[in-house]
């Protein structure tokens, strides 16, 4: 695991009236326990991974005693299907994943779930990975809620509101028999604040108070003819019930404001951005007292027509702030106003940027345009410096894309792939989701397509037979177990695909924080598991399987070359096996420090570059890209260009030397192995050697 969550786990046990301090995602996790969930599951993905990470750490001390089951779902589809428990039984359950991608994977199970309907509250916590810092395709979850009739909550981001909305979501889900989705933006998930807690509630049905009887009701099967009845129920009974609940429980918030002729309707998640913009434009105070009336929609599906009409009443102009496209809220509002013959002018995407994250600049501009000259003037004053920074810096600054960590075992594989393609000609590389997607960036620039998690091999299916060189698919162990096994490898074997699959097995789902996966040897709860990628692939009938130690670049290169050139048809699988270096260092560093303190013998290998031997052609950078391999000023008074330099962060993985060797770059690299506390004999020998060498040695 990326880090220990001991502190967070402790906060999960807080009781009535005690104050929790932490991130938004922790508040939501605590609220699940306060709502009496029977089971929790999901698949890790920023920005919601920590929900599962924390609960995994809390499993023994907290969940088990409460009788709450924690499921390590294999992927989002499995997590969505997990919620099936709430169809027949009065069990509250929650699952989490990154949206939009996770929701896409879960879509089939979600449709079935919401058609059948639930009697126990079912909640999906999605990380709305949209806007700056997002790592996935830019789509919103809203459309899923509309097509499958899911309740969609976009809460105002404060810890107390997040917690309250989770608790209400279960109530609303049970009142309407519809699954609820709570959508959490990146910054809201990582927002640190505080809230007052309530006691945790033991689930009515759980591992400590099990069901005794199964429940059979054909009406709850999403199978014809039930499906026809269920469709009618959604719109005749379930959504109306949800609307009643929203009003009765006051889930949406109204800020009165004195300027009655205008108003703003917005997604709850945008509230602080809008209130700050209003403050800067002189229309609100720092405490959120706005002069413009506002309707804050914490629930964006379903909308409540009466509530909207009530807000529109007597207003000349209303602005809708709705992030993303299509503008479902704006459209529904306009249709509603039209049907009721209202004359209120409804603004939305006509004054705000259509797509993209609603950052302050965007909202500020929209509000200034909506509010008129005085606001525009204040905005101009605030932003008069905009653009001058770019001018002052003259050149556009180089980007700093994420890259493989120092000593990462995935980097050498791409060094080898790059060398191999120089030699055998470049080929199509199907990339996948995971840290290895960084290989699509400089210096490797490897990867022609990304079609989703675990989809690399499948995405090459039509390229392989139509490409005159063998194509290569990259698959991490996370992606392999998520869906690459079936959609990728099995599919390729079934279709007799003649191509190469490189599986990067690092024993964790690393990109999201080293969560356990079936290659880790244990599940997140700590139960031992023995699942092997090699054996699994063998069992599919693949005979060409080679496992390599990625740090041995020359060996990896040899295997890649063989895979590219062998007469053998079918799938050729190369498994590059080595532990995620981040995780390894977390283990090794403290151990080394301890042994040093204890005066034990410790060898610390690190690499270096002789500055007077380096001529600065930088080939090493272009085949390596290690963060610790950097530049320094040339110590040579007659040379101007900087030279290569390995800084203190080097972990001695040896890649730079291996690449310089395998690729025959230059003789500048050396390994310097410092032997601490070597012992008398070794020290004596070393002294003798230094003495002998000393005779011959020039200064």
């Amino acid at each position: 695991m990326e880090r220990s969550f001991a502190a967070e786990v402790k906060q999960l046990t807080l009781g009535e009236g005690q104050v929790l301090r932490g991130e938004g995602i922790l508040a939501i996790t605590k609220a699940l326990l306060q709502s009496g969930v029977s089971y929790v599951g999901g698949y890790p993905g920023a920005p919601v991974s920590h929900l599962l990470d924390v609960l995994a750490d809390a499993n023994e001390s907290l969940l088990k005693p409460m009788g709450v089951y924690l499921d390590a779902s294999a992927n989002e589809a499995a997590a969505a299907a997990l919620l099936g428990a709430s169809i027949n039984y009065p069990m509250r359950g929650a699952v989490t994943w990154k949206s939009i991608v996770g929701t896409n994977v879960a879509a089939d199970a979600l449709s079935n779930l919401s058609s059948a309907g639930v009697i126990g509250g079912a909640l999906i916590v999605v990380g709305e990975d949209y806007g700056a810092g997002a790592s996935v395709i830019q789509e919103r979850t809203h459309a899923f809620a509309l097509k499958s009739s899911l309740l969609l909550i976009d809460p105002r981001p404060t810890l107390p509101t997040l917690a309250r909305m989770v608790e209400e979501a279960f109530g609303m889900s049970e009142a309407s028999n519809l699954p609820a989705v709570i959508s959490l933006r990146i910054r809201a998930a990582h927002m640190r604040g505080s809230m007052v807690c309530r006691d945790n509630v033991r689930p009515a049905v759980g591992m400590n108070s099990r069901l005794e009887r199964h429940s059979f009701d054909y009406g709850r099967l999403s199978h014809p003819p039930s499906t026809y009845v269920q469709e009618a129920q959604k719109f005749e009974r379930r959504l109306p019930a949800a609307r009643r609940y929203i009003v009765e429980r006051g889930l949406n918030e109204t800020i009165p404001g004195e300027d009655k002729s205008i108003g703003i309707i917005l997604q709850g998640g945008l509230t602080p951005t809008a209130l700050r913009a209003l403050e800067l434009l002189g229309m609100a105070d720092p405490f959120g007292q706005s002069r413009v009336p506002m309707l804050v929609l914490n629930v964006i599906h379903p909308l409540v027509p009466d509530q909207l009409l009530g807000f529109l009443e007597g207003k000349a102009r209303v602005l809708v702030l709705e992030e993303g496209m299509p503008s479902f809220i704006e459209q529904e509002l306009k249709a509603l106003a039209h049907d009721h013959g209202l004359t209120t002018r409804i603004h939305g995407k006509d004054v705000v940027a259509a797509q993209g994250e609603y950052v302050p600049e965007v909202v500020l501009a929209a509000l200034a345009r909506f509010l008129g000259e005085d606001a525009e003037r204040r905005r101009r004053v605030l932003t008069e410096h905009v653009g001058r920074g770019r001018a002052a810096l003259r050149t556009p600054l180089p980007k700093r894309p994420p890259a493989f960590c120092t000593g990462c075992p995935e980097r050498p594989v791409f060094s080898a792939l790059k060398i191999a393609q120089r030699e055998l000609g470049e080929t199509h590389v199907a990339a996948d989701i995971g840290c290895h997607a960084f290989a699509t960036l400089p210096p490797f620039n490897q990867g022609n397509t990304i079609l989703g998690y675990g989809m690399s091999v499948a995405s090459a299916s039509a390229v392989a037979p139509n490409f005159d060189r063998r194509v290569i698919s990259i698959l991490g162990d996370g992606g392999f177990w998520h869906s690459g096994l079936t959609a990728g490898v099995a599919n390729a074997v079934y279709n007799k695909q003649d191509s190469i699959v490189v599986v990067l097995e690092n024993f964790y789902t690393s990109a999201t924080g080293q969560q356990a996966n079936p290659s880790s040897g244990k599940n997140p709860r700590g139960d031992r598991v023995t699942m092997s990628i090699a054996d699994t692939i063998k069992s599919l009938g693949v005979s060409w399987i080679k496992t390599v130690n990625p740090y041995r670049v020359a060996d990896t290169l040899k295997v890649i070359r063989e895979a590219m050139t062998t007469a053998a048809g079918g799938l050729k699988v190369i498994i590059a096996r080595a532990e995620c270096q981040l995780e390894r260092q977390r283990r090794v560093k403290p151990e080394t420090a301890k042994r040093l303190r204890a005066g034990e013998r410790v060898e610390t290998p690190r690499f270096g570059v002789d500055p007077d031997v380096c001529t600065g052609d930088k080939s090493c950078m272009r085949f390596n890209g290690c963060p610790s391999l950097t530049l320094k000023e040339n110590p040579d008074p007659l040379r101007d260009d900087p030279v290569a330099h390995v800084d203190q962060s080097c972990v001695g993985c040896g890649l730079c030397g291996e690449v310089a060797h395998a690729a025959v770059l230059c003789p500048s690299f050396y390994e310097a192995r410092v032997v601490h506390n070597p012992g008398a004999l070794a020290r004596g020998l070393a002294g003798a050697r230094r003495h002998v060498i000393g005779w011959l040695q020039p200064a």
Partner: protein, 528 residues
């Protein structure tokens, strides 16, 4: 409207560089002082070396429960009070993206650089000049507190983020006191002493007003350096001093340092005759040089070229006492620790027969280049140069200096070198800037083995097919030499930036039946 507003702090750090901890300290200090605060972050792929930003808002007044201020999750351009950056480029990035405004923003940044991959992978120098970054920050910031926090962290046995926290505490932009910040570190409970030391050092630094002042760079006076160089040359020091004296009598002050360094290098590399022939060439160019700019550039480039890195040179550099001392220092190896150095060497046949007299090496070369047109075999080896036998192997190679003057490699290097020298002289007769550009072309010839062979070939062709014709057409058109000067500058950049010019060869000893799709220029060998 309440007068009091939240204080906003934007933090730009790099994955794994303590930005998260810094943020927690700030929020903790606010909590300790009783001020409402909120933080958030875009960790994205934190710890994966990408740029990571954190954002904190603090309300500078104690408030009752239920009457909390509204905190934004985003910084607003024009409304940012402090930008803290753990590295200079990240501070400049905040300026580029409009978060710094002259009316409001204090910029606190470490001035050390961590180069982006784009900067690192350009052959030659692709780094963004520090001055450009600092100028941008000064232009858009209300106040700039900049210091090399990395160097200071090493010096004070502390961390970069603790020093930055100290600077923030001392900047008087946030309502918390030094005591609040220290309490936050103690409550954090991680490496408390180390971090508190950093906090205090940061506070003192700003209080003393040292921060923000650009670091002075002084070049040592030549006489001082001359003595050092002479000493380093040992028995050959006398020859060096007499040559240096001759140069000093002949050339203007401005050139002495460069010429002196060059002479020392050439004698160290070969002998006094080698150094004298260098002075000969410099004389010819200087005769045509109105000032010293051209001679300066030409002398630097020629000296480096005349000391090209053949196996003998590499072996020599790898076996020097100073080298092992430097490595010990860099690795921070304690006195009682044992140091084991393993060198990754991989000479190819070209390298070895290159050492033979041209009369013998030439025919061998012709045969070998036909036998292995894709590149000659290499002798890959990992040599423990801290072991007696390993050291001997390399040391013996370094003794072969006597082979050099008649060697095939020398013949080949000097053929191209004199071509370049002629071009410089031709240009020098016409236009100074033009001549300087031609002189700079020498920097293209770099690297080892195949890389160097290809760059040499590219340079020769560029000289013959582009440089000289361009100069000639400018001369005939009598329109000045701006066009040819520009095209030569462009050409040099292109030759260096073109990755194909440093394409990778076949790895050692491996053979494959498959022919490369790409040009033969893929093939080759490095040396070592």
């Amino acid at each position: 409207m309440a007068a009091r507003r939240p204080v906003s702090i934007l933090i730009g750090a790099l994955g794994g560089h303590g930005g998260g901890v810094l943020t927690e300290w700030i929020v903790g200090a606010a909590a300790h002082a009783g001020y409402p605060a909120q933080s958030t972050s875009i960790p994205g792929v934190a710890q994966r070396t990408g740029a990571t930003t954190y954002y904190v808002e603090i309300f500078p007044e104690r408030t009752e429960v239920g009457a909390e201020p509204v905190f934004s999750l985003y910084p607003t351009p024009g409304d940012v009070d402090v930008i803290v950056a753990s590295e200079l480029l990240e501070a400049a990035r905040a300026v580029e993206t409009d978060y710094a405004s002259p009316a409001r923003t204090t910029v606190i940044a470490s001035t050390h650089r961590l180069f982006s991959i784009a900067e690192k992978s350009v052959p030659g120098d692709g780094t963004v000049p520090r001055e450009v970054l600092e100028a941008g920050i000064r232009a858009l910031g209300r106040r700039f507190i900049g210091f090399d926090a990395l160097a200071l962290a090493r010096q004070h046995q502390t961390e970069v983020n603790a020093l930055l926290l100290g600077a923030l505490a001392a900047s008087e932009v946030v309502p918390m006191t030094a005591a609040d910040f220290e309490a936050a570190i103690r409550e954090g409970g991680v490496a408390v002493d180390r971090n508190v030391r950093g906090l205090k050092a940061g506070i003192e630094l700003v209080a003393a007003g040292e921060a923000g002042a650009p670091a002075p760079r002084r070049d040592r006076p030549w006489p001082e350096v001359r003595a050092e160089r002479a000493a380093a040359l040992g028995t050959r020091g006398a020859e060096f001093l007499s040559l240096a004296a001759r140069a000093e009598s002949e050339f203007p002050e401005a050139l002495l340092a460069v010429l002196g360094e060059a002479l020392a290098r050439l004698i160290d590399y070969q002998d006094a005759r080698h150094a004298e022939s260098f002075l000969e060439s410099v004389r010819r160019v200087h005769a045509l040089d109105s000032g010293t700019r051209l001679t300066q550039i030409f002398a630097k480039r020629l000296a480096v070229w005349m000391t090209y890195e053949d196996a003998i040179r590499v072996a020599d550099l790898k076996t020097r006492r100073g080298r092992f001392e430097r490595i010990r220092r860099e690795q921070g190896a304690p006195e009682d620790a044992v140091l084991v150095v393993t060198d990754y060497l991989k000479p190819d046949l070209d390298e070895l027969y290159g050492l033979l007299p041209a009369s013998i090496g030439g025919p061998i070369a012709r045969w070998a280049e036909q036998r292995w047109p894709e590149g000659r075999p290499t002798i890959g080896q990992h040599v423990k140069t801290t072991s007696v036998l390993g050291f001997l192997r390399v040391w013996l190679m370094a003794r072969l200096r006597w082979l050099r003057p008649s060697s095939l490699r020398r013949q080949r290097e000097f053929a191209l070198m004199s071509r370049w020298e002629e071009a410089v002289l031709t240009a020098a007769r016409l236009d100074e800037s033009l001549a300087c550009e031609v002189a700079e072309l020498a920097t293209v010839v770099r690297g080892y083995g195949e890389v160097r062979r290809r760059l040499s070939l590219a340079t020769r062709r560029f000289l013959d097919e582009t440089v000289l014709p361009a100069i000639e057409s400018d001369r005939q058109a009598a329109r000045g030499y701006d066009r040819s000067t520009a095209s030569i500058r462009e050409g040099r950049r292109h030759l260096l930036a073109d990755e194909n010019a440093t394409r990778l060869p076949l790895p050692s000893g491996e053979r494959t039946s498959v022919r490369p799709a790409a040009s033969p220029s893929l093939r080759g060998r490095g040396q070592g």
